[in-house]
Subunit: 203 residues, 2 copies
Amino acid sequence: MSIASRKEREKAAMRARILSAAHDIFKEKGYDGLNIRSIAERIEYSPATIYLYYKDKNEIFFALQYEAAAAKRDHLLPAANIEDPWERLVEFGRLYVDFGLKHPDWYDLLFLTRAPMEHIENQDCWTLGMATHAFFVETVEACVAARYFKSTDSSTIAYTLWCHAHGLVSLFVRERMRMYPPEERGKLAKKSFAMMVKMAESL
Amino acid sequence: MSIASRKEREKAAMRARILSAAHDIFKEKGYDGLNIRSIAERIEYSPATIYLYYKDKNEIFFALQYEAAAAKRDHLLPAANIEDPWERLVEFGRLYVDFGLKHPDWYDLLFLTRAPMEHIENQDCWTLGMATHAFFVETVEACVAARYFKSTDSSTIAYTLWCHAHGLVSLFVRERMRMYPPEERGKLAKKSFAMMVKMAESL
DNA sequence: GGTTTTACTAAACACTGTTCAGTAACTTTG
DNA sequence: CAAAGTTACTGAACAGTGTTTAGTAAAACC
């Protein structure tokens, strides 16, 4: 059993090495600059070896997406400690946008990459993302329960707020804000977020 | 001179044939399924010929993006006839979302594709898109002028509304709404749009 | 009618993801 | 401990991208 378990450990270690290399290359050159041969070169193995540990590039993509989801969760975590649901919601939103603007590559990977979405429900990255999303929805529900809004349709409220935050970050990440001068983009994002908070208050 | 002008016409005709083929393939197989060899095959020329009429694939991409921008403008055009600025704004938004949900590929091409954005300001597609965007901003300004909002910060208002609509369509187009059952997604989009209109009324 | 210019293409290059046959090392077995 | 079997790994290839280049045949020019 000892040899078998050692092999298992080695297998896991190799998977980790591959993923770590992929992670580094992704951070350096983005997803477009990430390819099997560059991973192989970095870990000093042949490209074919990668396929002994990952079925295909999509599997590596999903693993990376899991890391992105974890990074996002960690970024949003501080909001969880806030007692008041409304303040928690606002801080959650602020951190969400902040994450997107600070880590456009991670955000892109999570929400904007055209990825094989067919069976993503079975992937760990999806499960993790859903947990974070559930926390957001629960916060909205807590606000509704505490009568912070006139409306009681918590799912539509949550979705609407998400749409705005996601749209905000997306336009930024995919460079569709070129009609505004670069130094104004951040300010506009901040002002728009504040406006959305104001609007939500009278919802 | 006659021969020269005929040649010019033939050159333009060839460019149009290439673009038309690209358009068809794009509609059939999406942007991922669009490649130089498939265009060449369809117009019954060699792949190298394409490069005598378009500098590279990006130039074809920009031309396609122009078509998408034109399709979007045409889709939004009916709103322009509405006199009342608020009603015009609402209809504009409704048609914007409608366009995105009905033509996800076009929308993707316009706002979600990771394209060479460095010099897009010089491209016709950008100019056209900006014209449509200007019409939207002017409508918001008209609403502000007519005191439809308490706030007078028209650019932030316009941007905020755009963020929501864009986020709504983006989540749809890039399949990030899988936590909602398929038949509910359209309904949720409608409800969220209505909620945003309500929120904007009390802005 | 001979020369120059144009329109076009076959073939290649460089780069992707991926597969497969072969090999060398490790593990098991008698 | 040596033979047999299994595992880990790789070189070379395949098929698919965008793109370039040398060469050719037809058209245009003089």
